[in-house]
């Protein structure tokens, strides 16, 4: 899964680091570090983080390749499938 965080928009609320700690981590009090190529297994957590971000700073793309790798394809339908996320 590819993702990018608009760090101009990010205000360090750390919701993502709480919901998807394997992908997002706070570095110091306010800086965010994230893995721009998260493992497809993190999908549920990352989707939760995208939805929870108070400033909608996370852009996520779930590629076809990710879909193929995912164990439970039936889970995809409800999740807005392809490019979820905000600006």
């Amino acid at each position: 899964m590819r993702l990018v965080v608009d760090l101009n928009r990010c205000q360090g609320y750390a919701q993502c680091a709480f919901l998807a700690p394997d992908v997002f981590a706070m570095h110091g009090d306010e800086s965010l570090l994230y893995n721009p190529n998260a493992d497809p297994e993190q999908r549920e957590d990352v989707l939760r983080a995208v939805a929870a971000c108070p400033v909608q700073a996370i852009l996520l793309e779930i590629t076809d390749e990710d879909m193929a790798k995912m164990a439970a394809p039936q889970a995809v339908a409800g999740a807005g499938s392809a490019s979820g996320g905000a600006r």
Partner: protein, 462 residues
Amino acid sequence: MRDGSLEHLKREGRIVVVGASLAGLRAAETMREKGFAGSLTMIGDEPYEPYDRPPLSKQVLLGNAVADHTALPRRRAIDADWRLGVPATGLDMAARRVRLGNGDEVEYDRLLIATGVRARPWPNAEEGALQGVFVLRTRDDGEGLQRALAAGPRRVLVIGAGFTGSEIASACRERGLDVTVAERGEAPLVGALGGVIGEVAAGMHRENGVDLRTGVMVTSLESDPSGRVRAAHLSDGSTVEAEVVVVSLGAQRNTEWLAGSGLGAGPRGIACDAGCRAFDVRGIVTDDIYVAGDVARSPHALFGYQFLSLEHWGNAVAQADTAAHNMLSESTDRRPHLWVPAFWSSQFGVNIKSVGVPPMGTEIMITQGSLAERRFAAVYGYQGRMIAAVTFDNCRWLPFYEQQIESTAPFPPPFSTVDRRSDGIKPLPADFPDPSVPTHGPTITLSGYSPADRKMTFTPGR
């Protein structure tokens, strides 16, 4: 003119985007979103699909992410003809053709130029080619430097303490590596944020164990017999032994390929109007050539219509969107690019963010928090108005200051009740050096032709 030509362009026109990075990709997405159904060609000199650069000096150097895994997420499919790994080498404006490095030519009806910048190389090419000498701009640079740091060099030397140089030094310290930073200015970040903030940055370097040398230049690099860098000689007569040297001297704009084309392109970028349309060398705006991202310089109403060149991630996104919109709009539907400059940097565990144009400021005032705690907000003043703000670990206040800047609020600011600590009482000189002094370039360049500007000479064409 509503003669149907726009509809024709949207249906079956040819759009060529030169530069396949953040700005190019975002523009392409916007064009498709706006219903462009014609052919879209994306030309990029790097062999990779668009990827994100900021992680290269942060997550990647820390080993938290891999350099070849920063490909940008797509907002939508863009159905483009990708020409990657081939640079554009020329432009024929009359024939509306872009020439490529492999001899191919691509014709366009609308052209977007988003060729960005590259790292300024070490001035001595032979020394710059030594093993162990790096710059940091591309994915390959990031991968190479990450590998060199992972090998555990005895000392790293970073030349230039701008944002990138400081982030590299920070990553080195976090990895437990000894690092020396050499900066020609009086402090890190001084070119971008001035002397008052530069002093805070210097404190961060030193407290985190960086061997910071300011007011010095690296005069030469020395190699061992096998062609590996071994040491650097400094202008104060000292020598720094280092196995890895990172040259972080700011950026150069990728405009050489436009030389002789008739487009208004030069070392400061490509001049365009507020609607992202490029100027030709005669100062006449073109109808079919647009510019976005780091390579553009455009006038900004909030900052005295100065031409601004912004090496900022957010500018690439915003300007690409505006350029793409305008490329597919009637003239009365076009939008100006009036994005307020904003950037961030993460170093030594501190989140530095800024809005506005700090180098325009003549005064600075700490409005909240304190410099000593390294948690504060400061505003810059210019001719009695607020022109920029910077925060260290205090970013939630930034939207407030942005709105103040946008509404040309007075400086010094009238709100005295937000914080009453001693730093905030009165304005201080912002203390920006002559822009030619710091080793690092500012990430915002005021590139209008002011009469006081003696840095550029006009060279008429043949």
